[in-house]
């Protein structure tokens, strides 16, 4: 955790540099293509942080988090497209709807614990995915995706020239989610979340109802995910069933493990790295980088999932704590040198 004095100014400085990059001189981030990639990466960084709130801070291994992200995307899009709602009102309604959905599904899932909880949330997430792909009532347009009606979103987000505003929007959402997660985890409820993760029995002995706090954590992270979903709707220009798939939740899990849970910045870094890496590995595999290798190695290497999966297995087995964990271990060693 970022306790030392220079870490907060450092975070502010990094954010400012990223915010100014699209406007200064001749650097790669002035390119709209990269701005788009970075905007998506920022949103996944924020989403990974909301997942970390659940998985890292509260110790709830959920496999259905994508449902609430997708609910934020689709409810906003449907309200705007079909019912002609005002954009900001639609976002607010999507967040409220998602919170209620999370409260209902969360209350049912929390009757189980541990691994069973993971399976049950997976089933609920899958039901959401099915609802979106099957296109009940003609609202979601199934596998075709649901492009957003461009007339209804603020005009400064439209067009390639304005990609830098999408970039700033995503960065702004990331900062907001970071501050929200900070506030939640440092609040007294956040302390109970951590206590639940470490020793649930002890929490109930102290007279607190564990399930009530777990549900609070579940609903909070879902509401934040819905908010990020509304941002993703604007940045990616529409909804797509893949946002609701279990692969998305698994990707979130990979991001948090890669960056390291329970450190806030770890999850964000993991999300950004994973997202950028996914895009980069894709373009590497389409190029001729691996041409000199024999076919039976080249095939798997050209699949990004292979590299990511291997990294994931190695981190879980040999480097628990991911990037931020390794950093804190190194720092601990450095500070204790000579003692």
């Amino acid at each position: 955790m970022l306790r030392w004095k220079y870490s907060r100014p450092l975070l502010v400085a990094v954010t400012l540099i990223f915010a100014l990059l699209p406007f200064i001189g001749n650097n790669p981030v002035t390119n709209p293509g990269l701005q788009q990639t970075m905007a998506v990466a920022f949103l996944y960084g924020a989403l990974a942080l909301t997942y970390d709130l659940l998985f890292g801070f509260t110790g709830l291994l959920s496999f259905g988090h994508a449902l609430y992200f997708a609910s934020g995307i689709y409810v906003t899009a449907i309200l705007i497209n079909t019912y002609n709602w005002n954009f900001y009102l639609a976002v607010l309604a999507a967040i409220i709807f998602t919170s209620i959905l999370a409260a209902l599904t969360g209350a049912a899932s929390l009757r189980t614990t541990g691994i069973t909880f993971a399976m049950v949330t997976l089933a609920f997430g899958q039901a959401g995915h099915v609802i979106i792909t099957r296109d009940f009532g003609g609202l979601t347009h199934g596998d075709n995706g649901l492009p957003i009606n461009a007339d209804r979103i603020p005009s400064f987000f439209i067009g390639v020239v304005n990609t830098k505003f999408l970039y700033l929007l995503a960065l702004g959402i990331l900062v907001f989610i970071y501050l929200a997660a900070w506030w939640i985890t440092e609040s007294s409820a956040g302390r109970v979340f951590a206590a639940l993760r470490d020793n649930e029995q002890r929490v109930s002995v102290l007279g607190l109802n564990p399930n009530r706090f777990k549900l609070l954590s579940f609903v909070l992270s879902a509401a934040l995910a819905a908010f990020i979903g509304a941002g993703m709707l604007v940045v990616s220009g529409g909804g797509s069933p893949r946002f609701a798939s279990s692969e998305t939740t698994i990707a979130l899990l990979l991001m948090v493990i890669l960056g390291g849970p329970v450190t806030r910045w770890g999850a964000v870094l993991g999300g950004i790295l994973y997202s950028v890496l996914g895009t980069r590995l894709n373009s590497l595999s389409q190029g001729s980088t691996f041409d000199s290798l024999p076919t039976f190695i080249k095939g798997p290497l050209s699949e990004p999932a292979f590299t990511l999966g291997m990294i994931f297995i190695l981190i879980v087995m040999f480097a628990p704590g991911g990037i931020s964990g390794a950093y804190y271990r190194a720092r601990f060693k450095y500070l204790n040198k000579g003692k």
């Binding site: 291994l61 049912a108 899932s109 009757r111 189980t112 614990t113 541990g114 691994i115 069973t116 993971a118 399976m119 049950v120 997976l122 089933a123 609920f124 899958q126 039901a127 099915v130 609802i131 099957r134 009940f136 279990s246 698994i250 899990l253 990979l254 493990i257 039976f296 080249k298 095939g299 798997p300 290497l301 050209s302 699949e303 990004p304 999932a305 292979f306 990511l308 999966g309 291997m310 994931f312 297995i313 879980v316 087995m317 628990p320």
Partner: protein
């Protein structure tokens, strides 16, 4: 009446396939507390091995070559499960969350390797011609493949129950599901039971993979996705660690799924999640479940 019979038997056939996926998941979870996301990979490996046997080894599909394909698929998946257990799961002894996470990684890598080697397209698995036929019961015309799924699942269920009931290793597995620490405290080698359960679970999933490629007309690296999720649901509904529970839940879910889909297309998946929620609200340990880790 004829439609009713057709839907019922199709539902039981589907349930048989669910059972093949869920049985291993249930045993592995019941004994070791491992949520195995790589179970879908066992299924896919079985299917690809079956495809290899029935195209490269025996190019002319007959009943016997299909049986050979099923057994080869089962053994390949079982061996893979064994290797995974030895190399990965064993090293994370008792770290349940990490074990679940690492199986997610294995599932990703297996799908990527198979995709890299064979491409991500759907490949047809050749079957003997009589698989396409239908039988007439009363006035109902029922495709014959349903009976194959049911028959194979029934044989495997009987075999697994007999192993659990009549062999020494089966006794250890049953005792381990009840109380693992007590079994090891008595000086019995539980590790051997772990490996057995992984092999058996992998075998059932591998055979299931070959049959699923017949059911869904093809083999592809991503074929396991929704089957694995249905497997999880069956395990939760039936109760962790109970084979009979899995079998009953698989039938229940297969049949309801088919009937719901008959009335409204796509409703089936929804009803299944509804059953899951109902079971969790009334009996969180599942229909026949006792253990909780």
């Amino acid at each position: 009446m004829s439609t009713f019979l057709l839907i019922l038997i199709t539902g039981v056939g589907l349930g048989a396939l669910y059972f093949l996926v869920a049985s291993g998941l249930s045993l592995i979870y019941g004994l070791m507390g491992v949520l195995n996301f790589a179970h879908g990979s066992f299924l896919t490996i079985g299917a690809f091995t079956g495809l290899w046997v029935s195209t490269k080894v025996f190019p002319n599909p007959t009943t016997w070559t299909f049986i050979a394909a099923m057994i080869a698929g089962g053994i390949a998946a079982g061996l893979f499960a064994l290797v995974m257990e030895q190399l990965v799961i064993n090293r994370l002894y008792n770290r349940h969350i990490d074990q679940a996470l690492v199986t997610v990684g294995v599932a990703l890598v297996v799908a990527a390797v198979l995709g890299g080697w064979f491409g991500n397209d759907l490949r047809l698995l050749p079957t003997p011609l009589w698989f396409m036929k239908a039988v007439t019961i009363g006035d109902a015309i029922i495709p014959i493949d349903r009976f194959i799924y049911i028959g194979v699942a029934a044989i495997l269920l009987t075999a697994m129950l007999s192993i659990l009931k009549f062999t020494r290793i089966g006794l250890i597995i049953r005792a381990g599901v009840e109380n693992r620490s007590m079994v090891s405290a008595l000086g019995i080698n539980v590790r051997l039971a772990f490996s057995t359960v992984f092999f058996i679970g992998g075998f059932a999933a591998g055979v299931g993979g070959v049959l699923i490629s017949v059911f869904s007309y093809g083999v592809s690296p991503g074929m396991a996705g929704s089957w694995l999720i249905y497997g999880f649901i069956v395990v939760v509904v039936g109760g962790m660690g109970s084979l009979t529970g899995s079998a009953i839940a698989a039938m229940l879910i297969g049949i309801t799924n088919q009937f719901a889909n008959y009335y409204v297309t796509g409703l089936g998946d929804f009803v299944v999640v509804f059953i899951l929620a109902a079971v969790l609200l009334t009996k969180p340990s599942g229909l026949l479940g006792k253990v909780s880790h």
